[in-house]
Symmetry: C4
Subunit: 199 residues, 4 copies
């Protein structure tokens, strides 16, 4: 078992980079390819801005929750390091799914595909996060001194509600891609002010 300080620093780095790489999804319209005005070309890119804002908020909240969860931990074993790596693997993929979502948001049938992929990666991220938290909560030796294992386990159940929410967004994705993005935005906004905590 190792201290969690370094795991947190590495995770912070990956999260900070993933959130900043989202800007690469904002593309400068080609000067030669402008049919009308730049203002018009930029306005047509609204899906990119909407997806940028939504994903930025989501990764920001993942960061806040990551710190909240690791605040209850006192040590990390190999399984925890592995689960954390899987979590980061899905988070690091968000700039890709964001770009995909923005590009195909108004593409008819393909829009549903892009929305399902976006929601699916969020779901996978939430499942990995819940597994990580559940693993820690069920191994008291990993918890920080003073943290009540029973309270931690109860907190895992509430925390895992997020996975149900993301599962539901896959359903919304099949109905309407723009609605799906809007739902993700509202979820992100809601969680901005509701973070995981022990009772």
């Amino acid at each position: 078992m190792t201290s969690t300080t370094r795991v947190e620093a590495f995770s912070d780095g990956v999260l900070a980079i993933a959130i900043t790489l989202l800007v690469l999804d904002l593309r400068v319209p080609l000067r030669d390819g402008l049919h009308t005005s730049l203002a018009h070309a930029l306005a047509r890119q609204w899906p990119s801005y909407a997806a940028y804002v939504t994903s930025f908020l989501i990764i920001g909240i993942i960061w806040v929750n990551h710190h909240a969860v690791f605040g209850y931990l006192g040590a990390a074993d190999r399984m925890l390091l592995f689960l954390n790596l899987v979590l980061l693997m899905f988070v690091a993929a968000i700039p890709f799914t964001t770009s995909l979502f923005a590009e195909y948001l108004t593409a008819g049938r393909d829009a549903h595909t892009a929305a399902v992929v976006y929601s699916g990666v969020m779901l996978a991220m939430a499942v990995a996060f819940s597994c990580l938290y559940a693993w820690a909560a069920s191994h008291p030796r990993l918890l920080r001194e003073g943290v009540d294992p029973a309270a931690a386990r109860a907190s895992v159940v509430r925390f895992s509600a997020g996975t149900v929410v993301y599962l539901a967004t896959i359903g919304v994705a099949l109905i309407s891609a723009p609605l799906c993005l809007a739902v993700h935005f509202v979820i992100a906004l809601y969680y901005s002010f509701q973070q995981v905590r022990l009772r």
Copy 2:
């Protein structure tokens, strides 16, 4: 409420990445597409270099001011975390607006559009920053021990002068895009030596 150490580390990461990603706006001229010499092709890219230097200075100053403001804080609540995320969202968008500005700086009517977008994102960043500082200053429990709330509130007013300056650059953008970039450069240079501080 949480400690501000981690918020600062995460913000530092985002700022360091955003400032370094500016280099992606500097493009290597296509070897096959060279009509004259490489020297000529590079010289024609002067808007990219000017925008790179200006945005680099601006993000550098945001970093300095971010540290100055967080130096007065002792704790962070959820609203502060949220406002900080909004601030970072605009900062992380600067490599995009910089690239846009450089590409369209000499594009006639579209140059004004690009300059307005560039100045607009700077304005939004300054507004988010002022809101963050004002929120902290009006909640004494967030301030570090020994920081005078009245002095902090007075400092917010002076700090917010920056938003007026960025508002003015939107006006300049409508007159002349190159002049607008020059004004941003002068502002950045000025603020390099004038940082926020309590009296």
Copy 3:
């Protein structure tokens, strides 16, 4: 000789960035170029996802081992800094070899070339890592107080077994590129739960 704290922080930064840059290898299919459906286009990109997951795991494990090795060190001399830089140089190249491997995984004869390059860079990374560890283990003044030099030297031998494994993957690369990627994935999974440690 200098403290190892800063070397670790810098190395952590490079590792976190390299692992996150892997996402740039995941490409959004061009909307105009879709012959069939987006789902079909995404499914055809399976080599990119397989390579992303494998390389993500590998860099994650390099990070874990980097910390394990530096956990035994108390100081760094110039040669150690230089060997660490060479190690990072190969790690930072992994997003490139990953992209190359994914692009050519199904390209007949060229697939072997891409697999050899991928395995070759991993081998070079492992050799650099072994040299770094061997240098430290053979210079007791670099070891942390309480670390037994003899145990460290014995650990180097076991650690270097990894280089033999990577050498073997070059052989596999000549037989089958997809098999080579699968072997790299299995190795990464194995090492996720088996890290370097002193006896």
Copy 4:
């Protein structure tokens, strides 16, 4: 005046990102555009690999020297922060000049242009670094307790010898671009084992 801890952390971040972004200069040959074999196409990219290795070493050494210089500092004033930002601005541009150098290394007359730009940015970086060090050494209140101002000033002179070396590479650039790259590599290798230090 502020503590140097945060300046160092921010600078470390920029240096780690700039060194890792060098990988973006390594391009995967287009699968459709292959005239012969992938092996042949990769071999033809040798200037990219040579430039990658050279720039990686150079940024690594800048990092080592940055730490050495800041190890003598106890505080930072505004001018020092500004000079550090200018230094980072040139370092962050290295991925661009590296890509430019690699692309045009074998391009006849244009190769000289690319080599001059590469050497010129290195010279500007070295000048900024010397100014930063000279400013600190000539303001004893910025030095860490126990550091002899006279020894620091003497060290600046030796440190600034690097600027003369980089000035000379501009001359070499006009003679031969590949030779210029080789000279940069040798300089980097030399400085890997010779760092700034007080006597």
